[in-house]
Symmetry: C2
Subunit: 332 residues, 2 copies
């Protein structure tokens, strides 16, 4: 895309929106202008992200006339209402919500895995769910080596996935506990400070959450593995911003630890961080504000014949959201 | 055992030791005296646990001459050195460390599962590892219903498992973060506040930790299932005292959710807490200082034919340690 590309961030004032601006600036995205959009409530405010600053404008269908790319990070309802308006006006919508991910006419893209899918877009390109994107940074290179059949994923998800208000809630509840005050819960139904909630996104009839099904459905679509089996349990943990996952993965071929380690290390989206004897393994603090996800604790699985157990940490706001979207914009 | 039974707590000043005293008092354990023992460093100090108080004495082999039961919770080295001394003096040692758990001559007992094994003791009875005991509170009733073949366990373990100093470290690091100070790490190799460490107990050659193998080896011994397959990943989380676990379990027989729920609810060590539509599921805060473990999020597993996914929270200091030991003493 030419240097005079005009890019807009829809939902620019949110946790992900601000990271998108930061990454566009830091990665020197070739555009003439970055524009910030949000709801009418924030319109007129000056938004500052590091050195960058701009006046927030209200998102209306007309704004897409002046944009080449719009990255949406303002929730599913805004995306459903406005991404088609962008597409209609020849502005490509990169959508961070779940609104279009399973739409057959919309490519769901992780640039390290299926960049070619970008070309098939009809105006909208979907960004995957944060936990799916991070899990695949560990699992996809292993799939290339051994052929993925099935995986069990237990997540340890940071509060940044619920936005700025949730990060503030974790902070306030933590402080309140030490000052003897009562910890108020408003973003989450129960306290999150020094607690765990096996509850991310809403519950479905069969007892799974929407978040848990995303790992299954999005994983199949992104890796083009329609028969992949995935069992997922999603848990919110009192961590500010990087997600982690414990994964048990079963493969078609016999696994080899050396090949597995090399596959991870040579994959562009991940790095191997796996020296237990030196207490080196990924942690969410160590992988906050890192572009690559960290993969460690790789070992032969005790309960699967061709299986590997592993642990991944990755920045939820970056690879889990903003970075993946910016990478898609870079392909465009 | 007769009312004039004399019971001693070895390691009484520790996190588990104090909970043992609390539970003996609260459950009106039929004994004439509760005596507190620790290292020479604490000897002479007055220990207070709620209404109870006593002078701490140094643990020497001679003290067992005056005891009928000694509950050991002072680490593996103390147990190895002194539990045989107790046994020699006709004082039954209930050992909370891992020192004797896999010894074929020592019963490893979870009173809800294999109380009859207590009778076979030769002076020492082992208490299981905390995460094993809590996992089995959810899995064993399901095993009785469907026949357990294999399970994948990812743990979310509280810092109380590392003792009082770790609980203080979590508190201090959390406070330091908000006051802009640096978070010191001494119990753990990395900060635990707002972080996760996929590292519980020490690493073995094959990349697993000792803690992860305990789930396999102790689970097999307690449930008498020598062929059980268990893959376990143990993770320390910034929670003060209850452990939680995400489990995917595979069974011999087809599973039925109604039967599974009834099995959990009617089991003496657990209770069903599973109403997602009302945001009811176990959390570590809700299961702190509860004798029963909470089991919820029960659903058919997406990646196993006869499988169930579930989530358990249980008080690490109680069912995971002190309560189980006191229950063994009650059987004696």
């Amino acid at each position: 895309m030419k240097k005079d590309c005009r890019i807009g961030i829809i939902g620019a004032t949110g946790a992900v929106g601000q990271e998108i601006i930061r990454l566009l600036v830091n990665r020197k995205f070739p555009c003439s202008e970055i524009k910030a959009y949000a709801s009418s409530r924030s319109a007129g405010n000056v938004l500052k992200v590091d050195e960058w600053e701009g006046v927030v404008e209200e998102t209306t269908p007309d704004v897409f006339d002046d944009l080449d790319i719009a990255i949406f990070s303002a929730g599913g309802d805004t995306s459903k209402a406005l991404a088609p308006e962008a597409a209609k006006r020849n502005c490509v919508a990169i959508d961070n919500s779940s609104a279009f991910r399973m739409d057959e006419t919309v490519p769901l893209v992780v640039p390290e895995i299926n960049p070619e899918a970008v070309k098939e877009h009809q105006g909208i390109i979907a960004n995957p769910n944060c936990s799916t994107a991070i899990a695949l940074m560990g699992v996809y290179p292993l799939h290339l080596a051994f052929g993925l059949k099935r995986m069990f994923v237990s997540t340890y998800q940071a509060v940044s996935g619920s936005g700025v208000a949730a990060m503030k809630e974790l902070e306030n509840q933590s402080k309140a506990l030490f000052s003897g005050e009562k910890a108020e819960a408003s973003v989450y139904p129960h306290p999150i400070a020094f607690n765990l909630l096996p509850h991310v996104d809403s519950f479905l009839e069969d007892g799974y959450t929407r978040e848990e099904l995303k790992m299954l459905n999005e994983g199949r679509k992104i890796m083009n593995l329609p028969d992949l089996k995935v069992s997922c349990t999603c848990v919110r943990v009192p961590v500010f911003r990087a997600h982690s996952m414990s994964i048990n993965a079963e493969f078609e071929k016999p696994v080899d630890l050396e090949i597995a380690r090399n596959a991870i290390q040579s994959f562009s989206g991940s790095e191997l961080f796996d020296n237990p004897s030196k207490n080196e393994y990924p942690t969410p603090l160590a992988y906050t504000e890192k572009e690559k996800c960290g993969v460690g604790r790789i070992r032969k699985d005790h309960a699967l014949d061709n299986g590997l157990a592993l642990w991944i940490s990755g920045d939820q706001l970056w690879k889990g959201a903003a970075l993946n979207a910016v990478q898609i914009a870079e392909i465009l």
